[in-house]
């Protein structure tokens, strides 16, 4: 072989190597790459597969970096991150007393217990977080780690399954490190003492930050299937990895296998429903969610998914109302169920009933922006403008990026003929993504009222592009052209 060919081959191989390494690193979360030597050592341990050692070193690095960390970090968590467990516990208790509905101090208490290897305490404190915020990913992960250390693999898997279905990652670096550490501890056990299915779930979770964890997750899942360690859940892990790697149909086949093993596996049913929904198969999606609901009627996540399907996709508000009423009959203190009940009542035109349901929901659970927004809407429909105004303002305070309350405030300002305020709120609502036809037409109406003809014309062009037959938009267009207002449209 000539020297030139050898050089070309070597360069090609080198380029291939660089591409492979770059591809591997490019998929990894930035959390693995610190600027300090400790972080570099941690990364080296991580690459060598020593996850427990890597977690300890990353924690050391965090102690130094947390001082200049995010300004909005809870003080108790900052103390925890610096390793001051007693200080963190004291501070968290003070914070919890001051803000009883805030989950952050409770989560810190759970993490403190975890750091002290008090698994029962960690589970208890994380349970308090989950009481306030049903599917808090951090609390579920803390629960899973604590159960894993207790040797309760089944309970740990249940927590991991709940964490997976929201498809959200944790918000605290310390929680991620706890997961990494426990993976290292479990990986270090002798092969036949390892909880295969739990490790498959844990590696699948780490895959969200580093795709290379797909490999061990698949290996553990296959071993779990082989030794019949919750093989239905192991099939679900394989299915989720297939879907993430661009093979959803193969993943769906694995979900079918999971359902053959256990037809009541809600994770498999929910994932199958998601797959069917992505293909537009609403009838199958409905059947699967209904089966999931029958398998576990007390799971609020499943009930919520079924409610959304009934209301948003099928428009079957009566069935949604019956579903919520059934849940309330079993547990009258379920705030979310009252919220769903009110939502269905409002859609069926029963504004008074909806208001009562929303008030029940607010009394039993935390006030959310969604609940305030919906309450404001029924108050507006009932003509209780002052209360609607306060409610919408509360919704904006809870979530300034939610478009609904801005549209509600716009309607209230317009009712009081405060055109500038109404226009500002309507524009804000549209800018935040609430671009329903009715909202666009409402803004056009405001422009017309103020004689802003050019803006009104542009706005009506947009509205009529959404629906060329919208009666209100057509009437506004006629008004704008100078002809008398006509509520009737052109057939």
């Amino acid at each position: 072989m000539r020297a030139r060919h050898r050089t070309l081959l070597s360069l090609g191989a080198l380029a291939l190597l660089v591409i492979v390494v770059f591809n591997q690193l490019a998929g990894m979360s930035l959390r693995f790459f610190g600027a300090s030597t400790t972080a570099a050592r941690a990364f080296a341990h991580y690459l060598a597969g020593d996850y427990a050692g890597a977690a300890r070193l990353y924690r050391e690095d965090l102690k130094r970096s947390v001082v200049r960390g995010p300004a909005d970090a809870t003080p108790s968590w900052v103390l925890l991150a610096t390793g001051d467990l007693d200080g963190a516990e004291r501070r968290a208790r003070v914070e919890a007393r001051a803000m009883p509905t805030d989950v952050e101090p409770l989560l810190t208490l759970a993490e403190v217990a975890l750091a002290r290897r008090d698994s029962a305490g960690a589970v208890q404190e994380a349970g308090r977080v989950l009481g306030l915020r049903r599917d808090d990913a951090d609390a579920l992960l803390v629960t899973a780690v604590a159960h894993a250390r207790q040797g309760a693999a089944d309970a740990a898997i249940e927590a991991m399954k709940r964490a997976h279905r929201t498809e959200r990652v944790e918000r605290r670096a310390t929680v991620f490190l706890a997961v990494l550490e426990v993976v290292g501890e479990l990986d270090d056990r002798p092969l036949d003492a390892r909880p295969n299915c739990l490790l498959a779930h844990l590696h699948h979770y780490l895959r969200l930050s580093d795709p290379s964890h797909a490999e061990p997750a698949i290996r553990y899942a296959q071993r779990a299937i082989h030794v019949e360690d919750r093989s239905d859940d192991a099939h679900v892990v394989l299915a989720l990895i297939d879907a993430a790697q661009g093979r959803p149909t193969r993943g769906f086949g694995r979900l079918q296998q999971a359902l053959t093993v256990n037809p009541r596996n809600t994770a498999a049913l929910l994932a199958s429903a998601r797959y069917r929904a992505s293909r537009g198969e609403v009838a199958e999606e409905y059947r699967l969610l209904r089966t999931a609901f029958e398998a576990d009627p007390d799971d609020p996540f499943v009930v919520g998914a079924l409610h959304r399907l009934l209301v948003q996709r099928l428009g079957d508000d009566r069935q949604a109302l019956a579903l919520a009423a059934g849940v309330i009959a079993r547990n009258p203190r379920d705030a979310e169920a009252w919220g769903r009940h009110g939502h269905a009542q409002a859609r069926l035109g029963d504004s008074r009933g909806a208001l009562q349901s929303y008030q029940h929901a607010a009394a039993l659970g935390p006030r959310t922006a969604e609940l305030e927004d919906r309450t404001g809407h029924v108050l507006l429909l009932l003509g209780r403008d002052a209360e609607a105004f306060t409610t919408y303002q509360r919704a904006v305070a809870l979530d300034p990026l939610r478009p609904g309350p801005h549209h509600g405030l716009a309607a209230l300002h317009a009712k009081a003929r405060r055109w500038n305020d109404a226009t500002r709120e309507a524009q804000m609502g549209l800018a935040l993504g609430g671009r329903d036809l009715a909202h666009v037409v409402a803004l056009c109406g405001l422009y017309v009222e103020q004689g802003r003809k050019a803006e009104a014309a542009r706005c009506l062009t947009e509205a009529l592009a959404l629906d060329p037959y919208d009666a209100h938009a057509l009437a506004l267009q006629e008004q704008l052209r100078g002809t008398p207002r006509s509520a009737s449209a052109t057939p």
Partner: protein, 352 residues
């Protein structure tokens, strides 16, 4: 300088060829002709030729501009062959684009099913430039049609799915597939069998029927919707308006006959009155249109519709008054102005 010019020439020629090949693939995807093999082979050849043009350009860059290939070397032959294939693909693309763009035919809709999707999901998880669907033939029972699938359709189509294929005749007489979509009718019927109150599903089904030109089924579905969701006037009015625009007056009556008695609604009266009058039920139609006019005297539509209804029943003076008012409220109503010219002498004659 000569080297640089040669490099520029190579770059321009090869990249233009690659762009033309990409355009040819696009044309074959958008104005796709169904067939057994030809369409997929043609798109595949154009894609390979595009890749080859880029590879030849890279090869020229690596070798350096100074090196010239011998006239009949494999590379030179490959270049010429590649250019020839791309030009042929482009001519085929031009044919398909003109066949689709100038085609004014109404689409015909064929309910069928996808048997399999080719190259859909690879083992490596890679997404290939195009995939195709093997669909049960609507022309030759028992056979398959192979149709290229557009990128935006990929996520919504799968093996075993019931679909509706919309085929247009083509300007040059070559049928082409304008659209492949899930069979909303079949799917909606499945949903309604288990959730008969699924209002959104019934609404989607009615709009699907309108889109496919199955107006009587759209009307029956909308009537059923209006019975189940009596508070929603928006959907029946919207469908009635679409049907009125297509002169489907019997179907408008089907949609609105149950809706009109529920509440005072000028728009419903206007649409239903016009449809009844057009159906020959003039007294009922005129009564409804008069109610609409009373409710909304400043709206041009009841006057306009009354003009036609009175004109049709021989009451020319009333027709002229109604049309005059309609034109006054909405200048530029050309057919109303035309009718006025026709009816004025008749009205004058009748008054004598």
């Amino acid at each position: 300088m000569t080297r640089l010019l040669r490099l520029v020439r190579i770059t321009v020629v090869d990249l233009t060829l690659a762009a033309l090949a990409a355009w040819a693939v696009w044309a074959q995807l958008v104005y796709r002709a169904p067939g057994r093999w030809a369409a997929v082979v043609a798109a595949g050849v154009a894609t390979v030729a595009m890749g080859l043009a880029i590879a030849l350009w890279l090869h020229a860059l690596v070798r350096g501009a100074a090196v010239r290939d011998r006239r009949w070397s494999p590379i030179a032959i490959g270049q010429r062959l590649c250019a020839l294939v791309i030009l042929v693909s482009c001519f085929y693309g031009v044919f398909l684009v003109s066949n689709g763009t100038f085609d004014l035919s109404e689409p015909s809709h064929h309910p069928t099913a996808i048997v399999r999707i080719g190259l859909d999901e690879t083992e490596l998880g890679l997404r290939l430039p195009f995939v195709w669907a093997d669909v049960r033939s609507w022309r030759r029972p028992g056979e398959l049609e192979r149709v290229l699938v557009r990128p935006e359709e990929r996520a919504r189509l799968w093996s075993g799915q019931s679909v509706v294929v919309s085929v247009r005749a083509g300007f040059h007489g070559v049928p082409w597939v304008a659209r492949i979509e899930g069979d909303v009718e079949k799917q909606s019927r499945e949903i309604l069998a288990v959730a008969p109150d699924a209002a959104q599903t019934r609404r989607d089904l009615a709009e699907f029927y309108v889109r496919l030109g199955r107006y009587s089924e759209a009307a029956i579905t909308t009537r059923e919707y209006a019975r189940r969701v009596p508070d929603d006037r928006h959907v029946p009015v919207r469908i009635a308006r679409l049907l009125t625009a297509r002169d489907r007056f019997a179907d408008v009556v089907t949609v609105l006959e149950d809706v009109a008695p529920r509440r005072e609604d000028a728009e419903v009266y206007g649409l239903l009155g016009h449809a009844l009058a057009a159906q020959g039920r003039r007294p009922e139609g005129i009564a409804l249109l008069e109610r609409a006019r009373t409710l909304q005297p400043r709206s041009w539509w009841p006057h306009y519709a009354l003009g036609w209804a009175y004109g049709g029943s021989g009451e020319y003076a009333r027709a002229v008054t109604a049309f005059q008012k309609a034109v006054e409220l909405r200048p530029g109503l050309s057919d109303a102005e035309r009718e006025l010219k026709r009816l004025r002498p008749l009205a004058t004659r009748a008054s004598r």
